[in-house]
């Protein structure tokens, strides 16, 4: 009996040993190469460097390093110069990465462009014509077309937009109170579109009812008198409206007063606050003023100290109930909707729901870099932020 037992023991010991060895070998074979690679990878080296940078004693082992990090965190003491260096690195990394690559929409030029005044005379004539009517009034004719186009809204991020004349926001339409406006609109897109103007006009020119929809390949001519004076907007009113707006069909419509008693501004800027829902979940991923996230942060708007700057500000952001404009280190006059010649407020922040707009008159008292952004911090950090560079 004892013999058999011993025999069994012997027989079972070997397979067991083998089993342990095999399992152990397999496990190490499976996992060790990864770890070895991780130790040599640039990422590991970088992490090691970070740990070293952080530690007050660069020769300390990793674990002591991490422990002192935790001690620091727990004590709320972040005065260590190494940790501050790391913090500074992290702070500097805020914002987008890369550069805008598409050239077809110049957000800097857009600020000061209306009635196609950025185009050479020959090209401009094809899209805009000014003439005098028999009754002495000015007739302003525009050729606007709707078009599907991919636009760059953050460096490397492209949005399949619906546009007027291939740009978002649309070309700015600007007239003087009492002018006649005639818009030859052609739909070169793939969905029915319209041009619905905020202003005073006949119902047949409203571009909002089903019978007003201009189907792909079709045209329509809108005609109305420019009134009232102020800063207005136009946008597509086809259904679903939120889709047609969030896809990019909107633009600025400015009507200047006939008898302006205000001081003439030295510089005029058009700013349309907009946003893009890139994954179509009815939440915006990118916020901006004039479509390009952080564009005026990367390329500050240059202005002069003490000059009068007039901003035509429009909010068209879809999906979010409110948006705002806040300017640093100065205050400004706000003319709500621009329809009175006296300012409504002297402030540094304007809040707007969708479709709301204002004229802002501002002067900078000091030179330097001044930030402007939505005082909805969420929007700011998703692209709606820029700078004025004020020079002497």
């Amino acid at each position: 009996m004892l013999e058999t037992q011993k025999a069994i023991q012997k027989k079972i010991r070997l397979p067991l040993l083998a089993l342990f060895l095999i399992v152990g070998f397999l496990l190490f074979r499976l996992f060790m190469p990864d770890n070895a690679a991780a130790q040599e990878s640039p990422e590991y080296q970088k992490l090691k460097q970070i740990a070293k940078d952080y530690c007050s004693d660069p020769t300390s082992t990793d674990s002591r390093c991490l422990k002192s990090f935790e001690d620091l965190k727990n004590s709320g003491n972040s005065k260590s110069s190494h940790f501050q260096k790391l913090q500074a690195t992290a702070q500097e990394q805020f914002g987008i990465i890369g550069e805008y690559t598409s050239e077809d929409f110049d957000a800097m030029q857009y600020l000061t462009t209306w009635n196609f005044n950025n185009l050479p005379q020959e090209e401009r004539k094809k899209l805009y014509k000014e003439s005098r009517l028999p009754d002495g009034k000015t007739l302003r004719e525009y050729w606007i077309f709707a078009e599907d186009k991919e636009i760059e809204i953050a460096p490397g991020v492209f949005f399949p937009a619906w546009t007027y004349n291939g740009q978002v926001p649309a070309p700015t339409i600007r007239a003087t109170e009492g002018d006649r406006i005639r818009i030859h609109f052609t739909n070169k897109g793939t969905k029915p579109h319209t041009m619905h103007f905020h202003g005073i006009h006949n119902a047949s020119m409203d571009g909002a009812m089903t019978e007003d929809f201009v189907y792909p390949g079709k045209s329509f001519t809108y005609e109305f008198e420019a009134e009232p004076f102020g800063v207005h907007l136009f946008h597509c009113h086809s259904v679903p409206i939120k889709q047609h707006i969030s896809k990019g069909l909107y633009g600025a419509y400015i009507v200047d007063p006939k008898n302006d008693t205000r001081i003439k501004p030295d510089r005029e800027l058009v700013m349309v606050m907009n946003a893009f829902d890139t994954n179509f979940d009815e939440e915006n991923e990118v916020y901006a003023v004039n479509s390009k996230a952080f564009y005026y942060a990367l390329n500050p708007i240059k202005v002069k100290k003490d000059e009068l700057i007039r901003i035509y500000l429009i909010n068209i952001v879809e999906f979010d109930p409110i948006n705002s404009f806040h300017l640093h280190a100065t205050f400004f006059d706000e003319y709500r909707t621009g329809t009175r010649l006296e300012p409504n407020a002297y402030t540094d922040i304007v809040s707007m729901v969708q479709g709301e707009r204002s004229i802002i008159d501002v002067r900078f008292k000091y030179s330097g870099m001044y930030m402007f952004h939505a005082h909805v911090s969420e929007f700011t950090e998703l692209g709606w932020m820029g700078f004025f560079e004020v020079v002497e």
């Binding site: 069994i8 089993l19 690195t89 990394q93 914002g95 990465i97 953050a154 991923e285 950090e381 998703l382």
Partner: protein, 400 residues
């Protein structure tokens, strides 16, 4: 005679290779001359990327991204908690299908906070990853090594060895009570098997689709069942002469192995959850696991209670079984903590489930001795249900 054989062989080969050959021609024609205008994709490219792992170091976050879609994905921007943040990507920002990439972000993350990371592709498609509780990710150092080894010992080795201590009590059971004990063991095993299966399935959700998690599960599960069955069938003639005690010993080891594999998977899951901050390993949770796993020790010794006298060096065997069941937890916790991949989790849990079900079936088969209805005595059924209930009840201690 020989020529016909040769001809037959040729025929065999031709008949085997002909379809492959034709398929190659078809593929060639298809690629060369196009699919006759039918299968041209007209929908926009479907971009799919998957954030597999997030590692936190001071003021710094590292992501592992995997492209599990059919199209290349270009990561254009990165959002952390709803704010754009600059990032660095090894090599190219474009990931080809099945390609893995690393993204480095310097970001002032907060210890213990919820962090949400969103990648935006060139076409505006977003890929998100949420981390419930951000904590410093362990790097290779002695402190974390110690943590995970101790974790494995507490959760795996100690409870199993504790369970084995019931042996003196269990061996005194006779007749019906012995059958009750065996049934209870089966109950424990079946519960554990389903537990491993469901954990494996749960992990599938965290795998990129391209990995086909259910395939890994099926392969792992059947691999275990079939391998163990084949081994026991092939060695049948050998074990038959050795008597019942030998069979019991093998059961003991098989159960230990199955539980070991289960614990390996469990260790992987605990280690990784701890490392990525999904659970806080309070002492209560560890104690819960300990009590829960004590039952595993009982399952191992139960079939040995009658055979211990015939087996030499019995104590050594018991310890070996305990270690076989427990030590994989340490390995799992270490691997899970330092370089976790859900693929391993799914695979090992499935193997564990297969091994456990296999041995449970073996014991039932032995109890039945060819007459299957004879096992459904009141004692056996009660024993089985008690086993399930013990597992269920101790499971409440593990509210991770």
């Amino acid at each position: 005679m020989e020529t016909t054989e040769k001809q037959n062989k040729l025929k065999l080969w031709v008949s085997a290779l002909l379809p492959v050959f034709l398929l190659i021609i078809l593929l060639f024609v298809f690629l060369k001359f196009g699919p006759l205008g039918v299968f041209k994709s007209s929908v926009p490219p479907i971009e799919v990327a998957f954030i597999q792992r997030v590692a936190f170091s001071p003021e710094h976050i590292t992501l592992e991204v995997f492209n599990d879609g059919p199209e290349p994905v270009t990561i254009a921007q990165v959002m952390v908690n709803g704010a754009y943040w600059k990032f660095d990507m090894e090599q190219s920002k474009t990931l080809n299908p099945l390609e893995k990439g690393k993204i480095d972000i310097f970001y002032p993350w907060l210890d213990g906070d919820f962090e949400k990371i969103t990648l935006i592709s060139r076409n505006g498609v977003t890929f998100e990853k949420e981390i419930e509780v951000a904590t410093l990710t362990p790097t290779f150092n002695f402190f974390y090594f110690k943590t995970f080894v101790l974790l494995g010992i507490y959760v795996g080795v100690i409870p199993v060895l504790l369970g084995l201590l019931w042996f003196p009590f269990l061996k005194m059971l006779r007749g019906r009570w012995y059958m009750f004990l065996l049934s209870l063991t089966i109950g424990l095993l079946v519960f554990l098997g389903f537990d491993a299966l469901s954990e494996s399935m749960g992990l599938i959700g965290s795998l990129p689709q391209a990995f086909n998690g259910i395939g890994i599960l099926v392969i792992g599960f059947l691999l275990a069942v079939l391998t163990l069955s084949a081994v026991s069938y092939e060695t049948q003639h050998y074990t038959k002469d050795k008597g019942e005690h030998y069979q019991a010993l093998i059961w003991g080891y098989l159960i230990a192995l199955g539980i070991g594999l289960h614990n390996l998977g469990e260790g992987l899951a605990i280690g990784s959850a701890y490392a990525v901050g999904e659970i806080a390993l309070g002492s209560l949770l560890v104690i819960g696991f300990m009590v829960h796993n004590v039952t595993e020790g009982v399952a191992i010794v139960a079939p040995l209670t009658r055979a211990h006298k015939q087996i030499g060096n019995f104590l050594l065997h018991l310890v070996m079984m305990g270690l076989l069941a427990g030590i994989p937890t340490i390995l799992g916790a270490l691997v899970g903590g330092f370089s976790y991949s859900a693929v391993l989790g799914v695979f090992f849990l499935a193997i564990g489930a297969g091994a456990i079900f296999d041995v449970a079936f073996d014991i039932i088969n032995q109890m039945a001795k060819g007459n299957w209805l004879s096992i459904f005595t009141v004692t056996n059924v009660l024993g089985f249900l008690t086993g399930l209930l013990i597992m269920y009840a101790t499971g409440f201690l593990v509210l991770g």
